[in-house]
């Protein structure tokens, strides 16, 4: 069966510091990968999606970037965090070829102080 991991689970970082969140998927090959952000009391906003290694698409202009160095690894980064980057970050995977549903990881709670 497939599993998706995210780490760290929680993170407190000062404004201006760098960020690296990691997501890995097990039990599937060539998945579509997604990063979402959930601000407090709000729905989910798609940040990035990827169909393959080094193939990243950005949904919204922002202070963040994403990379996919391996088939089942997806990394969310920032060079300098802003207060507005605080939120709950969720990684998700979906089967390639468009099979509609996505499966989410446990999330990372980021607080920028």
């Amino acid at each position: 069966s497939q599993t998706i991991h995210q780490w760290p689970a929680t993170l407190v970082q000062p404004v201006g510091s760098p960020l690296s969140l990691e997501c890995t998927v097990e039990g599937t090959s060539n998945p579509n990968l997604y990063w979402y952000r959930q601000a407090a009391g709000r729905g989910l906003q798609l940040l990035f999606y990827s169909i393959g290694i080094d193939q990243i698409s950005s949904e919204v202009p922002q202070n963040l970037s994403a990379s996919r160095p391996q088939d089942r690894q997806f990394i969310l980064s920032s060079k300098k965090l802003l207060l507005s980057d605080s939120g709950f970050y969720l990684c998700a995977w979906g089967p390639s070829g468009g099979n509609y549903e996505q499966y989410f990881g446990p999330g990372t709670r980021l607080t920028v102080t």
């Binding site: 995210q6 989910l44 999606y49 709950f88 979906g94 468009g98 509609y100 499966y103 989410f104 446990p106």
Partner: protein
Amino acid sequence: AQSVTQLDSHVSVSEGTPVLLRCNYSSSYSPSLFWYVQHPNKGLQLLLKYTSAATLVKGINGFEAEFKKSETSFHLTKPSAHMSDAAEYFCVVSVGGPYNTDKLIFGTGTRLQVFP
């Protein structure tokens, strides 16, 4: 453009009573619709999905949803609430993205409280 509207931000029920969480969708073609559940500080879990097969969809934990095209609705129901059902529920529509990706459009969520 595709969208979903969750009609209630909060729903409170007593344990053992029925649950109804309402969702209306907007789509120019037959949509793929989902319900996800999120417990506090956890990821999202897929409850059920509708992809143009049977209009009554059964999911996990006793939940089900009925797709009604005439009413553009996809309401989530459960006959008898359990304390463990207390969580945030999201109605979601899928819009096909480029390169066979699927962009999910989320509703704003309904927080379900279950009282003993």
